[in-house]
């Protein structure tokens, strides 16, 4: 009779842990990755600190009455914040007027009507449009949109530089973003909802507009808010096509040149070779930047809320 083998050698926790060198390497790798992830917090802090620091310099040394002056001429120490804020909202608003129908139309078509084959071809083309640099769209807005689209609409002789052309350019730029976020939201609506609607005898149009669209509404709202946020932060289209590089009087006429927050910043950075030297011009750059940052951050946070809501639902 062979002996029954005894109990196996007992494994201790130390045996399962592996060698010390292996554990040390694990810890080192983990810490390196963690450092990389924490870098994004450092960057955010740097952004906030650099914006707030210089903006504070500006606010504490400027005569606050100058901030509500009806004109933006930083080199003459006139910092009419309402001028550039209204310009920004006007341009972004025109952009939304263009991007909302185009983007939502494309989204509904791609999500509800297009064959899988058409989807596969059209989506990459929209991505190409999304990849066109904003300088290029700015020049297109100035050279093509302004004379062929804006000029016939605006009464009288229109300047080539105007806020309407810039707004349309911004709208073209944000259309792919609106389309893609809204399409994602509608595509994520479960099939069963569509089938229930068809089962009740609804048409495709009714199903798209009365079932899918409302079910995806929070994602669609998020798409529009993100588009608006992008439009407010868009710089190059406005810098090139809206004119008014030196400064601007308060104006909400889309057919006239105007200034936005972003364009005011590039104008300050390129207007003279030494932004650093000019008295309050340099800190004013950061004050406008802080304002812009606050605007877009608020909009992005609201959009995030909406997106999360529609994700939870299904």
């Amino acid at each position: 009779m062979t002996a029954i083998p005894g109990p196996p050698t007992r494994l201790s926790v130390a045996d399962l842990r592996g060698s010390a060198a292996r554990r040390r390497r694990e810890t080192a790798v983990r810490l390196a990755f963690m450092a990389a992830a924490s870098l994004s917090i450092v960057i955010s802090l740097l952004i906030i600190l650099s914006l707030v620091g210089e903006a504070w310099n500006f606010v504490s040394s400027v005569d606050l009455a100058l901030l509500v002056e009806r004109g933006w001429f930083p080199r003459r120490d006139l910092f009419g914040i309402p001028t550039i804020v209204s310009g920004t909202l006007l341009v972004a608003g025109i952009g939304m007027l263009v991007a909302t129908p185009l983007g939502l139309g494309a989204a509904i078509y791609l999500s509800e009507y297009a064959s899988p084959r058409a989807r596969r071809t059209i989506k990459p083309v929209l991505e190409v449009l999304a990849g066109i640099p904003s300088v290029v769209l700015g020049y297109f807005a100035l050279q093509v949109i302004s004379p062929t689209v804006v000029d016939p609409i605006c009464p009288g002789a229109t300047e080539q530089f105007n806020m309407a052309a810039a707004g349309i350019g911004v709208g073209i730029l944000i259309t792919p973003l609106v389309a893609s976020v809204a399409e994602d939201a509608m595509y994520a609506v479960p099939r069963s909802l569509r089938e229930a609607s068809y089962g009740l005898g609804a048409r495709k149009r009714t199903t798209s507009l009365r079932v899918v669209f409302p079910a995806a509404i929070s994602g669609i709202v998020a798409a529009l808010i993100l588009g608006l946020s992008r439009g407010i932060g868009e710089t190059m289209v406005v810098s090139i096509a809206a004119g008014a590089t030196g400064g601007s009087l308060f104006s909400v006429n889309p057919c006239a040149p105007g200034q936005t927050m972003t364009a005011a910043m590039t104008a300050l950075a390129t207007g003279s070779d030494q932004v650093r030297g000019a008295s309050l011009a340099f800190p004013s750059l950061f004050f406008v930047g802080l304002l812009l940052f606050a605007f877009t951050l608020t909009l992005n946070l609201i959009a995030d809320r909406f997106v999360r809501r529609f994700r939870v639902r299904y």
């Binding site: 139309g105 990459p124 640099p133 149009r205």
Partner: protein, 317 residues
């Protein structure tokens, strides 16, 4: 009496069929709705076609006429002598910064967030921060670069004539700008790798790093690659932050003796050159379009490469 009269059954079926078909009438409102949708889509794609047509019709003659001389000439004040040589060189070097800094840091951060971190308040906070950083307008990154690299660290990144506005400052700003995009796209690629792959590797005794290195990263590589290529394209076309951190507008003529000198020296980039020429008199119009053709050609090739890679390696689990 058991069977229904045949003639009656036919009329009932007919009635149902008719009512489902809308009694043979076309629903014009549905047709109109679909027509509007198609029209909007065609309009969007038409604008893209229009833009590309305008650019290529105006740009290619200049490119054909001047040939490689346009691609190698430096910036100049006369349109027939100005070229994009320095701009292309500067843009390529900015890309190198993005590739060397943002890719390892961004992919590392994504690996930490997706593979290592537990669902703690800290992780959720970092995720929120990354998402919000991706939504910050690019010009604000320019302000960050201006305050931190050009002004605060100016003597380090660009001593001498560049007064802080050096290639190093521009490259670091660009790297920070695309970092959140790299983190987000890499994170999506990592999340698409199914858990069973990880569990199989853990099951045979691999450590977490071994799991990530030998299993998760290879499977996620095509997705990560696509995302990083697209973020590169984004950086290639980005203008606003470079204007703030002082890419040269106008012209400069320096010969650099060493790499360090070039890093600390002045530079320009393709999109900032387009912006500069766009503000010049109409005689520069041909140059602007030619430079845009070069810019768009590079971006189209890069985008096509990314889309090809995605379709080639796309995998459904």
């Amino acid at each position: 009496m058991a069977a229904t009269p045949r003639s009656q059954a036919v009329t009932a079926a007919e009635a149902v069929r008719r009512s489902l078909e809308g009694a043979g009438r076309t629903d014009w409102r549905s047709v109109a709705f679909q027509a509007v949708l198609v029209l909007l889509l065609v309009l969007t794609l038409g604008i893209l076609a229009w833009l590309l047509a305008v650019v290529f019709v105006n740009g290619t003659p200049v490119l054909l006429e001047r040939g490689t001389e346009f691609l190698t000439s430096p910036l100049a004040s006369q349109p027939d002598r100005a070229g994009v040589g320095q701009a292309i060189q500067g843009s390529l070097m900015l890309m190198a910064f993005v590739a060397l800094l943002s890719f390892p840091l961004g992919i590392g951060a994504a690996v930490y967030l997706e593979e290592y971190a537990a669902d703690t308040a800290f992780t959720r906070f970092v995720n929120t921060v990354v998402r919000n950083l991706a939504g910050v307008p690019s010009i604000v990154y320019g302000l960050l670069g201006l305050a931190v690299f050009v002004v605060a660290l100016g003597d380090v990144v660009g001593p001498g004539p560049a007064s802080g506005r050096s290639l190093l400052a521009g490259g670091l700003t660009m790297a920070i700008l695309v970092l959140p995009i790299v983190i987000i796209t890499s994170g999506e690629a990592l999340r698409a790798v199914p858990g069973s792959i990880r569990e199989a590797a853990f099951g045979v005794g691999a450590t977490r790093w071994e799991v990530v290195r030998s299993h998760v990263l290879p499977y996620a590589a095509p997705g990560i690659f696509t995302g990083t290529i697209l973020s590169m394209a984004r950086a290639f076309g980005e203008t606003a932050p470079l204007i703030l951190v002082g890419a040269v507008i106008g012209g400069f003529n320096v010969r650099y003796d060493s790499v360090l000198e070039q890093l600390q020296g002045r530079y320009t980039a393709l999109p900032t050159t387009v912006y500069d020429w766009a503000r010049k008199p109409a005689s520069f119009e041909g140059n602007v379009y030619a430079a845009i053709v070069v810019l768009i050609a590079v971006l189209l090739v890069v985008n096509a490469l990314a889309i090809y890679l995605r379709n080639r390696f796309e995998r459904r689990w």
